[in-house]
C-alpha cells in the first residue's frame, strides 16, 4: 500500500472529513467481511491503522479521477 508524505496525508484527510461533515460519506462493505460506518472510517484515519492507508489511498484515486474529468 502506498505511503503518503505528511502534506498529502493532511490534504486527503481533510477532504474525507469535509465530505463527512457535509453528510456525503457512507458506510463501506469489504470482501474481507468488514463494514465501516462513516464515523469508523474517520476514527481509523485518526488512529493511523492499516485500514486508514487504504482509505487515504482510495481518496487519492478519487482526486485523480476528478482531475482527469475536469
Amino acid at each position: 500500500m502506498e505511503t503518503f508524505d505528511p502534506k498529502m496525508k493532511e490534504l486527503l484527510t481533510k477532504r474525507i472529513e469535509q465530505r463527512y461533515k457535509e453528510g456525503r460519506t457512507t458506510g463501506i462493505y469489504t470482501l474481507d467481511g468488514r463494514y465501516y460506518t462513516p464515523e469508523e472510517q474517520i476514527e481509523e484515519i485518526k488512529t493511523g491503522s492499516p485500514v486508514a492507508d487504504e482509505l487515504l489511498f482510495a481518496e487519492k484515486k478519487l482526486m485523480e479521477e476528478l482531475k482527469r474529468r475536469m
Binding site: 457535509e22 458506510g27 463501506i28 489511498f57 482510495a58 479521477e65
Partner: protein
Amino acid sequence: MPSESNMIIVRPKNCHYCIHGYNALNHILQHAQSKFNVRDLSGTNANQTPIYDALDEFDPKYFYGFGHGLSCKYTGDSEEEIFSCYNCDKLSERVVYLLSCLTAIGLGPEIIKKGALAYAGFNISWTWIADEDNDGNFKYQDPYNDPYALCFYESANELWKAIIDGKTFHDAVQQSRDKYDEWIDYWFYDKPQDPYSQECIKWLAHDRDGLISLDACGSINDEQQCIDYGCEWVNDRCMSRETQQTDNGIDINPMIILPIAMIGGLAYLAFKK
C-alpha cells in the same frame, strides 16, 4: 483435461455481507447457462468439500468464485478455507476468477504456479457501498436493484460475462476495467448531485485498479493454442499481450525498453565522438 464447456460458479450466501455477491452472481449464472454446462455451488454448497468434489467429478475449465479472501486464502459460505497458497492444486489447467479481497497478493500467483491457465483477482480489499434501511441492513438483497451497489457488482461481473461471451482472458479483464470506467463516468457526468457520487467514484476506481490478471502464456508451446488463448506468438514463443518476455525469462514492458535503447544509443554516439 478440464472440459471446455463446463463451468463452476461459487456463491456463498451466509458469510458476512455475502447476500449481495450471492445474488449478483445469480445474474451471471443465468447468462452462463445458455452457453455452458454450469454447476452452481451456492449457499452451504459453497464450501470446500462440495467444491472439491465438483472439481473432481465435473472437471470444469472455468471457475468463478465469490467470497471473502485474504492474501493467501479464499473462503466460502462458512468462512472456512476453500483454497490457500498451500492448497490450490485443484485449480490447475483452469481459468480462475476470484471476486474476493487481496488474493492477487499471494494466492493468485500460487494458483498460476500450480498450473492454472489464468487467474484474475484483487490486490486490495474489494469494496462497495449500498443503500441501507433504518436498521443499517441492506435495503435491497439483490445489488442489481440497489442504486449504489449495482455499479460495483456489474463491473466485477463484466469480466466473467465477457468470458461467457467468448472473449479472450485479456479482453475480458479489459472489458471489466472499462465497465468500472463507464460507471465512474455515470457518477461524474450524470449523477454529480447524488450525495454519494464521489464515494462511488472513489471505490470504483479503487476496485478497478486493484484488479490483477495473471496468465500462463509463457508455458504454452503450441502456436494455435497460444493464439486461441489470447496470447501472442512471437519468435516461436507464446507471450502475454501485455508484456514481451526476454530470453532470460524476465518480463519487460516494451515501453521500458524504448527509453533504455535510446539512452544506450546516445551513449554509444557520445563515446564514438
